[in-house]
């Protein structure tokens, strides 16, 4: 439970912090977690997940929308269709392929939502509480600072790529994960309609813009 939550935290945290750097394409060594961020953002992701005993990694793709006043949408498009809605009001939902909206009740997933809220609000201390940073060239490595986390995570590496950036999570059980983030865009406005248009699905947009006060 803890591990998943922290993985999510790191991935989302790094994504959010890294977007401006991905755009800037700066060559100079810098911490990919540092820098300004936009309040409204859009990106696409490709996730590779390795599982022990599975011959090749599981690949999924999707889109992400961030509104630092309302919350986040994490929409997986292939091979399954589902959308996660994390709002800052503390309400979170899962919308499946058939459009069924289910409130997220499981404690780990709720916590992911809460943590996401903290990161989006720029709680920088939060990341530093769990990790030490090592910045080398175009790469930022995060090393677990706490014993309990070290049991599960070896390193988390952020790399700039031509398309955007990559996040690699090396786990002690070798069930590693890689997320490539691309097509990052800062948005000027975001409402339910543009949300639907960006994600090409209405799933989650209504929840984000109604429940979060939009």
């Amino acid at each position: 439970m803890t591990i998943s939550l922290l993985l999510r935290l790191c991935i989302l945290g790094m994504f959010l912090r890294a977007l401006p750097q991905a755009f800037a394409q700066e060559a100079a060594a810098k911490d990919l977690l540092e820098g300004p961020k936009s309040c409204l953002q859009y990106a696409e992701f490709r996730q590779e997940k390795s599982l022990t005993g599975l011959p090749k990694p599981l690949v999924s793709k999707g889109r992400i929308l961030l509104d630092c006043n309302r919350g986040t949408l994490w929409s997986t498009r292939t091979p399954i269709s589902e959308t996660l809605v994390y709002t800052f009001s503390g309400k979170h939902w899962l919308i499946n392929a058939e459009g069924e909206v289910q409130p997220i009740k499981s404690a780990p997933q709720k916590r992911i939502g809460d943590i996401l809220a903290r990161i989006v609000r720029g709680d920088h201390e939060f990341i530093d509480k769990y990790f030490q940073r090592e910045v080398t060239g175009q790469t930022t490595r995060l090393l677990p600072a706490q014993k309990r986390l070290k049991k599960y995570i070896e390193t988390i590496t952020l790399e700039e790529t031509t398309a955007g950036m990559a996040v690699l999570v090396a786990r002690t059980d070798k069930q590693n994960m890689r997320i490539d983030i691309s097509a990052v865009r800062e948005l000027q406005n975001l409402d339910a309609q543009s949300c639907q248009s960006l994600l090409e699905t209405s799933a989650g947009c209504a929840q984000l813009f109604s429940e979060a006060g939009g």
Partner: protein, 801 residues
């Protein structure tokens, strides 16, 4: 025989007896080295009629020990940011403590969870969440295939505890995640909120596992000290954040600390007072070490003998036994006075003094031995302890005699005047018939008013009740909704299936009465919360078979998403078939995962076959009365309340001790009659009985709740009382001077300073003991003065005749 020869013979006898006793002591001490020191602190072992069978007893012992090793700290404030900041500070401080090697750690559920998943993976198809089991029965191929893909690619699989090799469809992972979520509840450094008095408060809860090794007490004391330092720092840095704590260790530490401070003051006053008296009366402290050493030697001897006989010693034996040995101080004082009065020792005085000493010892031994006849092991231990200790202490008094009385001087003119005045004042009323009438009136009143006595047998007498800690405990129990640490439900059965069926029966009964757990934050926690029944496991294995027969899933796996090849899927099916009929039993699970509460014990013996006992933990704030009623309707189900059992044990001990106190008085009276004849013997016995009756009457009138500790102190009162009476009776035979009575007053003063001052203790048990001892000492002195008048009257009559 000349006096010098008599003295030499007596001296040789004392040394020989000391040598034999010391040899015994060495043998007993060697035995302790061999077996190890075991001090039984369980109050439940006091009452045989409430104890369970050995299997249940072992289970309860493990559960209560585990509960007592839990401690919780919470940081609370109205501002979430304050709690977060304070929590971060606490986290860093605790990590430093852990790095510094302190043996008390934050509870780490992740380790236990990892072990648990590894065990479950050996039975990958045996566990299904109930709703999933239903879905597997009703869902079509397409739905099931989609569910599996969601486990692999979707958010459902983000929390992945199992490997693909062992759990290709994710059903076990689904079960494990659900179980973990239900069991782990509120995790450390997770900020929670609660409404209190109409205000929202935020808090973080920190749970600790305390060590269980032999050095636990020491380690815990150090840890508590460190935690208090952190608490003080936190208070300075985050004044808006409240520190709350819950757990037996905090009560024990607070009680010990309060009692320690209190006892330090009391004992300092007591020691200073005794030293002052010794300096005033004997013009030196030489007699003091001899008295103290004799008592300490007696306690040591008694401890070794009892430990060898029982292979352990109960804490109450130590407490009561050591107190009863305190009578030995009187022997020293009598000896000093006797030696001062007749330094060379006239033959006549010696023929009275040494028999008086032996008779005093004998009556005390007989009095204490009444406890041995109670049939209760704890009281038998107290009897053997006090008899062995008192005898050895008496021997040491005689052994130290030549050194202790060297250059002895006594300055007791004021004391003599006081004694003379007391005897004179009491003379008009100190008549045998008045004493008898007084005794009869007192005892008649006491016996008639027995129903009006207040008795208190709560184990709370052992600790001080800190209202702040009680408030912390109450609030945290509401906020966190943990489990009751000292109340359990036990279910018995002849096999696993029978016990699981009983659990189901109980759960069904609880579900049918929702008001029982309405205010509780959790459900009953039992083995069913950790493990499916054997029958359910077999059913789940069968249900998992639908995945292998699902053509849609096979296509998705092999063709659409290329997750597996057809051969790999066939291999998985073969492994699934091999798992058939394999069942994880509670015993196997709990043996392999020490982090889980030990809720299950089983035993196989040739007489009864297999016997199983399991425990269910009760969430706090449950309707205990209603739940108990339900438990009573389930066959082979038992409600266990350790507080009730301890109370019952203490009550049993109290009533038994009181009965045998009367028996002890009768035995002592018999010795008096044997020694002094019927009339005089009865008078001596009546005085002792009057003192005890008088104390009982005071408690009745003052409506003081009577506890076991009052009863045990009454034995000390009897021991001291008969000692006074014997010396009065013996010494007045030989001399008309009341000079020897100064020793009684001196003894009363030192006893008051050592025992009586305990009445000022903050610990209710110690205070009860001290108050009774104080009243008894006063009563015994008055009784002794009365006896002097009565005895002098007898002598005058004898002389007239």
């Amino acid at each position: 025989m000349p006096i010098a020869l008599q003295d030499r013979a007596r001296r040789r006898a004392i040394i020989a007896a000391f040598a034999v006793a010391t040899l015994l002591l060495l043998i007993a001490a060697a035995q302790i080295f061999r077996t190890g020191l075991i001090i039984d602190t369980s109050l439940r072992s006091l009452a045989p009629d409430v104890s369970q069978d050995a299997l249940s007893e072992a289970l309860i012992e493990q559960l209560s020990a585990a509960a007592s090793r839990k401690a919780t700290v919470a940081l609370a404030a109205e501002s979430r940011a304050d709690v977060e900041a304070a929590s971060e500070y606490l986290r860093v401080q605790l990590a430093q403590l852990e790095d510094a090697g302190y043996n008390v750690k934050l509870t780490d559920p992740t380790e236990t969870a990892a072990q648990y998943v590894r065990v479950l993976e050996e039975y990958p198809y045996n566990f299904l969440r109930p709703s999933l089991a239903e879905f597997l029965t009703s869902g079509d191929d397409k739905q099931l295939s989609r569910w599996v893909l969601e486990q692999l690619y979707g958010s459902a699989g983000q929390v992945r505890l199992t490997s693909f090799a062992n759990d290709p469809f994710g059903t076990l992972n689904d079960y494990a995640v659900d179980l973990q979520t239900r069991l782990s509840g509120d995790q450390t450094d997770d900020i929670q909120s609660v409404m209190q008095d109409g205000t929202r408060r935020y808090f973080s809860a920190w749970q600790f596992d305390l060590p269980e090794d032999g050095l636990a007490l020491n380690a815990q004391a150090q840890w508590i000290a460190q935690l208090q330092n952190i608490q003080a720092d936190l208070h300075l840095k985050f004044s808006a954040v409240e520190w709350l704590q819950s757990g037996v260790i905090f009560f024990a530490a607070d009680s010990a600390s309060a009692a320690q401070r209190n006892i330090n003051v009391i004992s300092s006053i007591g020691i200073a007072g005794i030293v002052l008296i010794m300096l005033l009366i004997f013009r030196g402290v030489r007699p003091l070490p001899a008295s103290v050493l004799s008592v300490l030697g007696g306690v040591l001897f008694a401890f070794c003998v009892c430990h060898s006989l029982w292979s352990s010693i109960h804490i109450l034996t130590l407490l009561f036994g050591a107190s009863l040995i305190g009578v030995a101080v009187d022997y020293s004082l009598h000896l000093y006075y006797f030696r001062f009065a007749s330094p060379a020792g006239s033959e006549n005085s010696k023929t009275h003094f040494y028999p008086a000493l032996l008779l005093s010892l004998l009556t005390s031994i007989v009095g204490y031995s009444a406890l041995a006849m109670s049939g209760l092991e704890t009281l038998q231990q107290v009897a053997v302890f006090s008899i062995a200790g008192l005898s050895y202490a008496c021997l040491l008094v005689l052994l130290f005699e030549p050194w202790a009385v060297k250059n002895l001087k006594v300055n007791d003119r004021a004391l003599s005047t006081f004694v003379q005045s007391c005897v004179h004042c009491l003379r008009p009323v100190a008549r045998a018939k008045y004493i008898a009438i007084g005794c009869a009136v007192i005892w008649a009143t006491v016996l008639l008013c027995v129903p009006r006595f207040i008795f208190e047998d709560s184990p709370k007498a052992f600790v001080t009740q800190n209202p702040l800690l009680l408030d912390n405990e109450r609030r945290l129990s509401q906020w966190l909704g943990e489990y009751e640490p000292a109340t359990f439900i036990l279910l018995h059965g002849a096999n696993d299936a029978e016990v699981f069926a009983k659990i189901e029966q109980l759960l069904a009964a609880v579900s049918a009465a929702p008001e029982i757990l309405r205010d509780a934050k959790k459900n009953l926690l039992g083995i069913h919360s950790l493990l499916s029944s054997p029958e359910q496991q077999r059913n789940n294995h069968i249900l998992n078979g639908v995945f292998f027969d699902n053509q849609q899933l096979a296509r998705d796996f092999i063709e659409t998403h290329e997750i597996l090849t057809a051969e790999q899927l066939t291999e998985l099916r073969a492994r699934y078939e091999q798992q058939k009929d394999k069942v994880l039993t509670p015993e196997q699970l709990l043996t392999r995962i020490p982090g889980f509460p030990r809720l299950w014990l089983e035993q196989v013996d040739s007489d009864h076959g297999k016997r199983v006992v399991t425990a269910l933990l009760i969430p706090k704030n449950a309707d205990m009365y209603g739940l108990r009623g339900l438990v009573n309707t389930i066959p082979a189900a038992e409600w266990i309340s350790l507080v009730d059992e301890t109370r019952s044990g203490l009550q049993h001990l109290r009533t038994t001790a009181n009965v045998y106190l009367v028996f002890a008085l009768l035995l002592i009276c018999a010795i008096f009659i044997w020694r002094y004849g019927l009339r005089r013997g009865v008078i001596l016995g009546v005085i002792s009985a009057t003192v005890i009756g008088g104390i009982a009457l005071i408690y009745l009138v003052a409506q003081v709740p009577v506890t076991l500790f009052h009863g045990m102190a009454a034995f000390l009162v009897v021991g001291l009382g008969v000692d006074y009476l014997v010396f009065v009776a013996e010494m007045l035979e030989e001399e008309s001077s009341l000079h020897f009575a100064n020793a009684l007053v001196l003894s009363g003063a030192t006893s008051s300073l050592s025992f009586g001052l305990l009445s000022l203790s903050v610990l209710p048990a110690v205070s009860a003991f001290g108050a009774t001892a104080m009243l008894g000492i006063i009563g015994n002195l008055i009784g002794a003065f009365c006896l002097m008048s009565v005895w002098q009257s007898f002598k005058e009559k004898q002389n007239d005749e």
